[in-house]
Symmetry: C2
Subunit: 610 residues, 2 copies
């Protein structure tokens, strides 16, 4: 009986499956929640999934009746009907999932005086007559400038395309959205003035709908980056988009489509129209930035990893196919380098790193981890390839932070205490769980400084190829020696980055007065565990701050305050980017950083404390 592997997305769990089993059965057996109302007989159509790569099964008669030929060709199937003919990756759309994915959208609560780039004005315009023959555009500008003492001179073209009939049907009374000296949209009088901030992560997208008149967040929403079905990490995404122009466009339009849906959903939630959005700000890592704009990425994927552009951009919504009013701008915060993007700039902004007097570290942990050290106003940034382990990648029972993921654990004697998301039976283990596991295994002496697992412990057994530690028995979830190695690489990468920054600034650990941990993953980790294995420096716990989505917070700040936006540009221009691979002692640092255990740094030399 042939056995294949299904890679379930966006959950991020890889499961073995036999040919005899349906996809639904396989998911259920592994604790992955796919909807099914009819009990798997193909009548409720609630278990729609998409086979996004690998061999696609022949559609059954039932499936042919449910999906259009295009959908079938695109890999859409019913999980309860499909038996997979080979290894594949299957995407479970949100509507087919029993529990929503955990997506962090909360971040720092920020407070600045709202002064956005776009303001709206209620304008009363004189109707034309034989004795007043001015053109509609000039008429509007004159009334606006006169009533509000402005010096507006330009009107977006798209506004010109609807202006004349609009002014007449609205009886010469309307709301005008002004950006700089340009009218970007003319709306019904009394419309709302909304802004959208988005943080486009490789895995997740966080969106915030704000009222620009007072800077308040009206709705927050998180969703999976739909590009995930084309590759989990940045590199595979870039590779995918390099295959052909078409394929790059496909990645772009997937993302844009999601943003359109998200914006429409958020607006309808507050009884507004998507055309009430008069400005948007987007941040993301440099790769997401390029894929979003449809920029070429080949030069970003090969050394020396150069972006097309780093400075901030203002792009009309229509140029990106975003369904806001066509004259509305999307502002993209500046990038720093090929692997330190606008999301890091936004995080530096929202955490006030530029103004801080204390020497501080800002760490945004992910598949790629960006770290900045700020000392006396000077900011240096590095990027470390920490890999997919924290997202559950390359870990045998790894998964994302979804329902049933083990997110915390403690080993006490022979017992293992598990905490899962939603308190349901464990399905797999997510980033914070694997970090805890490693710390607990190390502290219990089950793995040594080099990461080697002992066989002298009841829960340790010899698996097919390697030793493994049994976390749970039913369903069985183990941590393998290989899992430990993966996590070691990740923690070593981060530790090397921190180390290189401290060295470059001639700092010791003690000089570091605060460590700000940003990002979804960083918010959930147990800092003590990270210190215990030596991923973070051994400092008093009160110096650590887990701030959540600092990038999203920075996007919001840049949306509601022009001066904050300008500050972001200044930050990006002044950050010194340190290319880790170019530092002289990179290999030595990295090798040393592989060892487990708490450490402190004094006089630029590492000393292990235990």
């Amino acid at each position: 009986m042939a056995k294949y592997t299904i890679d379930f997305q966006p959950v991020g769990r890889r499961v073995e499956c036999s040919e005899q089993e349906t996809v639904l059965d396989c998911a259920r057996r592994s604790g992955i929640g796919i909807n099914s109302i009819c009990g798997g007989v193909g009548t409720c159509n609630a278990c729609r999934v998409q086979i996004v790569s690998g061999k696609i099964s022949k559609p059954t008669d039932i499936e042919s009746g449910v999906f259009s030929p295009e959908e079938l060709k695109a890999g859409w199937r019913l999980a309860c009907q499909t038996h997979i003919p080979g290894d594949c990756r299957i995407y479970i759309p949100p509507e087919s999932m029993t529990t929503p994915q955990r997506l962090q959208v909360e971040g720092l609560e920020i407070s600045v005086i709202p002064k956005p780039t776009v303001a709206t004005y209620d304008v009363q315009i004189d109707a034309p007559s034989l004795s007043d023959l001015r053109a509609d555009a000039e008429r509007l500008l004159k009334s606006l400038n006169h009533q509000y003492n402005l010096r507006c001179r330009q009107i977006d073209q798209s506004v010109l395309h609807t202006l004349s009939p609009q002014l007449r049907s609205e009886q010469w009374h309307c709301q005008v959205a002004v950006r700089g000296n340009e009218i970007i949209y003319v709306n019904k009088a009394g419309s709302r003035c909304l802004g959208l901030a988005v943080d486009i992560g490789t895995t997740k997208i966080a969106g915030y709908l704000l009222d620009l008149s007072n800077g308040k967040v009206l709705v927050s929403r998180g969703l999976m980056n739909p590009q995930i079905s084309y590759g989990e990490d940045v590199i595979s995404r870039l590779t995918q988009s390099m295959i052909s122009e078409e394929s790059g466009k496909q990645l772009q339009s997937l993302l844009v489509e999601s943003l359109n849906q998200m914006a429409a959903g958020m607006c309808s939630e507050v009884g507004a129209k998507v055309t009430d959005i008069v400005e948007a700000v987007a941040v993301g890592n440099t790769a997401m930035h390029h894929l979003f704009l449809g920029l070429p990425v080949r030069q970003l994927a090969v050394s020396p990893f150069v972006p097309v552009i780093t400075s901030a951009l203002d792009i009309k919504a229509r140029e990106l196919n975003l369904k806001f009013a066509p004259g509305v701008y999307v502002h993209l915060l500046p990038n720093i380098a090929g692997f330190v993007g606008a999301d890091h700039v936004a995080a530096l902004l929202s955490t006030g790193m530029r103004e801080t007097k204390d020497t501080s570290l800002l760490i945004d942990i992910g598949t790629n981890t960006e770290i900045s050290l700020v000392k006396k106003g000077r900011i240096t940034a590095v990027s470390c390839a920490s890999g997919p382990a924290f997202e559950g990648g390359h870990i045998k029972y790894g998964m994302r932070a979804a329902s049933g993921a083990i997110e915390r654990l403690r080993i006490e004697g022979n017992a293992v205490h598990l905490q899962t998301i939603d308190n349901v039976p464990p399905v797999g283990i997510c980033g914070s769980g694997i970090l805890d596991a490693m710390a607990q295994l190390y502290l219990a002496g089950i793995i040594d400084k080099t990461g080697k697992m002992t066989d002298n412990y009841p829960r340790v057994r010899n698996g097919q190829k390697q030793r493994e530690f049994v976390l749970a028995e039913n369903p069985e979830i183990v941590v393998t020696q290989q899992d430990i190695r993966e996590l070691q690489l990740a923690k070593a990468a981060i530790r090397t980055g921190i180390q290189a920054l401290l060295n470059a600034h001639h700092c010791t650990d003690d000089d570091v007065r605060q460590v700000i941990i940003a990002g979804a993953f960083g918010s959930y980790i147990d800092v003590s565990s990270a210190i215990a294995i030596g991923m973070l420096p051994s400092l008093p716990l009160d110096r650590f701050h887990q701030v959540g989505n600092a990038a999203g917070a920075g996007a919001k700040l840049s949306l509601i305050s022009l001066s904050q936006r300008n500050l972001a540009q200044k930050i990006a221009e002044n950050v010194h980017y340190l290319e880790l691979a170019g530092t002289p002692d990179f290999m030595r640092l990295f090798t040393e950083a592989n060892y487990l255990g708490r450490y402190r740094l004094e006089d630029s030399r590492r000393r292990y404390l235990d």
Copy 2:
């Protein structure tokens, strides 16, 4: 035997045709040159024509073999095969015409120091390395600004979409087109720097390809405005575009398609690529301006005839589907009012009216005639609905200035001396011919001051409904009493416009030191004839200047000189527009202006001299 009327376009001749006759025979009989190599047996396919309105004939088997179903549906037929089943309008494409249409593209020879808005620079850029990780955009800007001491800060988005692969394939050496502080295009090093000026007339389009480095015209080209198949005059064109959004888009895309073809043809003539065009300037009347941009026109078509916008516009080629490089701008000169467009601004510019010390008139005669009076630097403009008579419309044997059109005539005793375009047998009579005819008939006493035709002359006969004067017998071409009435209306409209301007400025004819007659039609008329019938004031002939396509000349000036372009904006802003219908004695002036005969104006009162 049923008889129908075919309106042949773009020739502008209406011909009676029987059901028995083929379209080719009918055209030949009337002297309209349609190609035919095979002798009308349907094998050479050289006589392709399009039935653009009216009843479309059922395609013959031969036609079904020649055209696709879409083409057949769009009215494409072979003139030698088609018998028309009712009144219709037939468009003869350029490739099916034996002689090209006469299209004036020549204008004033202008001489300004070239200083266009766009300049190109040859740039050598440092390649990136691990020790120089700047983004490609910043790298390019830095090199450009450094090498040429510029302060360029922006790069058009479309440039970003190709920049990175382009710099690498061109080995970091390229030509950069800069406009203001923006890079709008990156081209191969050593490419040309071309500009395109176009004058979009209701009937004709004139295009000029210039070398922006020296301001020289490389190629001039004229073509018919393809929108003509949707209506000959501005009003029917506007009405057409108001039918539906689709229909407005159709008119726009027809025009854009023509401009693309014209640009490509002109470029290939000088061995350049269409992407070597780095700037374009377009002028036209306000209706053409709006149709070109796809702006709404309803408010332009009804009183008080208000444009969407009058001020100048800069629009990216890509937004108009023009096939230049996507970041290139098309500059549209400003309009003055609903019926005084950018073409008149361009004519005022190229004729130096703003600087002239003498009181001057600028007259651009067409279906709509725009007239400006300049006195002590103050410019006042009017628009007169002179109608289609000068284009051959509403005249029994009227036609445009195409091969076989009578363009000059003299009556001597009983003889009529005719001069036709291309010296071929007469096909019809064009504007300058009909003007001559009227003057000659009036001077010979065949028509009186009121325009009434005598019957006391050998060549005058009573036609079916009215008296007519026989100009030619084989083929027969006559001038009817109704033709005279049409022309009287046209000349009265122009005379009223001139009169209203003189009255407004308290001028007499004598104050007017120069009369500049612009436009294709105006270049061909016999000024003495126009004076004889009282269309133009009776001034010494040396005060008249026929300058050809002054609008095209103005477009060229604005293309090669930024200061001229700024001057155009200043002119448009300072022209005082006089609404004729709003002047107190409009009806009186118009009634009086219907009389024929030379006149002079003194103390604001008309005195007929003969």
